[in-house]
Amino acid sequence: MSGDSVVVAESCSKWYGDVLGISDINWTLRGGIVGLLGPNGAGKSTLMKLVAGLLRPSRGTLRVFGGSPFDDRAVRARIGYAPEHETTWDELTPLELVSALAELAGVPKADAPKAAERALAAMDMTKDSHRRIRGFSKGMRQRVKLATAIAHDPDLVLLDEPLTGVDPIARADIVERIKRLGESGKTIVVSSHVLYEIEALTSEIVVVYRGQVLAEGNVYEIRTLIDKQPHRIRVTCDQPRAIGTALASADHIARLAFERDAVVIETRDPDRCYDQLAAAVVDHHVVVRAMTSPDNNLGAVFDYLTAGLGDG
């Protein structure tokens, strides 16, 4: 094992009963910001949980900072993990939640509130840090989750789908904050099923599909493949028609479909589309409740990529 490796997985597999989570993964993470990319159910969250010490490998080994994250508390003290799901302890305020979790991560009781304040400030949540989490939007919950992952100043930060359901403006802001964390020297692993989210953060990508690491490194080729497939964005908001009207004339729009409180956009140029979407939201004072990118296009590309490998 290389001395400077943060994560080393060797023939690592994880089953949930008869269901395979990840299969025979060999992967070394050395540092920086790394994106885990793959469609839903690909095994990204399983890999994250194994690294976070929530799961024990069924076969093979997975070591973080040279130790087992499942068994070694000292290893887990160096990890910050924000899970995919948005449920937290809603009865608490962000300050109480982050402070309690920082204390449980080893921050002394007297220092935990200050550490929580710093982490919440880093996620622009100072203003709402004394309100109960119940009633927070998805974007605010994501920020609180991110704060729980960084309050104890970990060396490795694991963020599972941190941009899911976040509106375009908040998305850009969170991306910048995650980048800043990376610049401060932390190793950050971010998972997503949306290539454009990952690309905004890093060019170092690990492609996970059907429980296996398909590819690692720069993602230029896969980007080209994905660009051939229209990218779909579903915006749940109070004025779907206003969004549709603002984007309708753009040459990259392949299709617009309206639902009762949402608009589904298919675009051939996601980067431009996200920019114009953010502008439309601001110009028309649209209240965005959720923004998701169904991963049908990514799945199609991965099916194409793996066609040559066969199913066996």
């Binding site: 976070a52 608490l92 109960r132 104890h152 100043d153």
Partner: protein, 229 residues
């Protein structure tokens, strides 16, 4: 730079404090308060009717425990697993048994306080049995042991933990009514024995309670380590 893992005492204290804070923010306390009042109401009613109530308030308090212990413990442990918020705790550098222990440290005394409060009130308005220290202490001990049992059940069956725990505590009252050696595994019987209300010696009841608590705590400690979220 990350801090070293917290000491066991620091982790238990932090877990207990945050559990207490969470549990006092919802409707749980008010519901528990209303339920704990029932034996006193029954005892008062019987007294007003001029009926000799024997140990009925003690029995009612035990029935209240069938509801309160799962309400406090099963919801805290089971829902954490069901709603996957356990991920926040399990990713921390804290031993998993400490997570159960921290919750018990906060909630079991709270549950016992409601049971004892209800019993004292019932003793005040009616049942003379509940005006002495021994049955009150026995009920407090029975409450703590019931909470330990519910913790074990919640880790065994996190889905619908509250229903399974209530069912267990309800069925537990049956062996206590049976003759023979079976009743010694019953929390209800052991509590009554500790209170001096059964033919078994008080010390036998106390030992049985301790053994039942130890059994369920071991189950909870072993099981929580194997659970996956």
């Amino acid at each position: 730079m990350a801090s070293p893992p917290p000491s066991r005492a620091a982790a238990l204290s932090a877990l207990a404090r945050v559990t207490l804070k969470r549990s006092t923010r919802g409707a749980l306390v008010w519901i528990a308060l209303a339920i704990a009042f029932v034996p006193a109401l029954a005892a008062g009613g019987l007294r007003a009717a001029g009926t000799s109530n024997g140990n009925i308030a003690f029995d009612l308090i035990q029935a209240v425990l069938v509801i309160l212990a799962p309400m406090f413990i099963a919801s805290s442990i089971g829902e954490e697993l069901e709603q996957r918020t356990a991920a926040y705790l399990w990713s921390r550098p804290v031993e998993r048994w400490a997570i159960v222990a921290g919750k018990l440290l906060a909630l079991a005394p709270m549950c016992a306080a409601f049971v004892v409060g209800g019993a004292l009130l019932a003793g005040l308005v009616g049942d003379a049995t509940l005006r002495t220290a021994q049955p009150i202490i026995a009920l407090a001990a029975g409450s703590l042991v019931s909470c330990a049992a519910v913790a074990g059940i919640a880790t065994l069956l996190p889905r619908h933990a509250m229903i399974f725990a209530m069912l267990y505590l309800l069925l537990d009252l049956v062996p206590g009514e049976l003759d023979g050696s079976l009743h010694i595994v019953s929390i209800g019987y052991a509590t009554r024995a500790t209170a001096g209300l059964e033919s078994s010696a008080v010390v036998t009841g106390a030992i049985a309670l301790a053994a039942i608590a130890a059994f369920w705590l071991v189950i909870a400690g072993v099981r929580i380590r194997r659970l996956e979220t």
